[in-house]
């Protein structure tokens, strides 16, 4: 709860992080949850922040200008 609140406080959209208890006997629930999660994520689209910049972009940045700290 604290973790979810904090990460959403820092800008992760609600709907991207899911928690569920599923017993090994609950195959139907498992399928339901997986479908729900994937459709929720697809609706949100690819995440841009909290994802590390691809290395090629870092390189372009480095050769373009000097980084101050």
């Amino acid at each position: 709860m604290l973790f979810k609140n904090l990460i959403e406080y820092m800008g992760l959209e609600p709907g991207r992080l899911h928690f569920s208890w599923i017993s090994s006997a609950e195959s139907t629930k498992f399928v339901e949850v997986v479908n729900e999660v994937t459709s929720a994520i697809k609706a949100l689209g690819p995440r841009k922040s909290m994802v590390k910049t691809p290395l090629t972009d870092i390189k372009d940045k480095a050769t373009e200008h000097v980084d101050i700290h």
Partner: protein, 315 residues
Amino acid sequence: MLTYIDKIRQIAEGFLKEGTVDMVIGFRRGTLPLMNEPCLIKRPEDVKKLVWDSNCGINLANYLTNRKEKIGIVAKGCDSRNIVNHIIENKIKREQLFIIGVPCKGMIDRHAIEALFPSEIEEVVEDESRIVVTGGGVEQIWSKAEVLQENCTICIHRNPVVYDELVADLVVEQKDVDRYEDIRRIEGISPEEKRDYFNDLLSSCIRCYACRNACPLCYCPTCFVDASRPQWVGKSQDPTDIETFHFLRAFHCAGRCTDCGACERACPMGIKVRVLTKKLEKDCLELFDWETGMDVEKRAPLRTYSPDDPDDMIR
């Protein structure tokens, strides 16, 4: 608060002379205005080095971790709460400690004064209610209330919660304080605005880890950012790595933070890192009715399970 000095010295001297303690941890006068330095006193004749004023913002509980000696320690409200937390987490034993309790009236925000003052600060003199700053031929006077650290203005536990001696009568606690106005504001903005806010907040971080190291809670033998096998976080100035550090540093303080402000005070870049830890502190209060370090007997919310624990997020 200045009258505390004699009393602190007197108690410390007594402790050392009687052999009640092997050492006393307190503050000595710094070499710069607005700065006092934590120090360790072992001989009774050295107690005259001990001082107290509104520049004792460092949390001294940080210096207790895993010590084996009998220690006298000067503790304001927040220090005492972190001492309690240390005791709960087995980082020190209550029997080892002789706590010299200091009813606190708040610490001065040195970053704020440096920013407000038009010249280099040469001298700062304080009395009970105001501080006089001089430098570059300019003199400026503030009432203390105007220049306190932000965490001190919203503090509701100024008195030490555990102590063996008190240096003065307890102070009146602040009532009806809205502690979370800033947190609610951030909670209320959109995810995109939050992203912008935190990117901007952390953009000047130089990864000196002063926030982490000034914090009494950060005592892991190997911090996750220092682990190399495996390496959890990149070590460059990549903004995502920096953000990961701050996010996890804060999360590791969940249910343990007393909002003592040591992290923010230590940051050389003036980053308001408390907006992260304070969010957790607010949630711990609202979800678990928990305030850190108030009782040696109580266990922290993340160390206990109760069927009543909120679990709305679990499907």
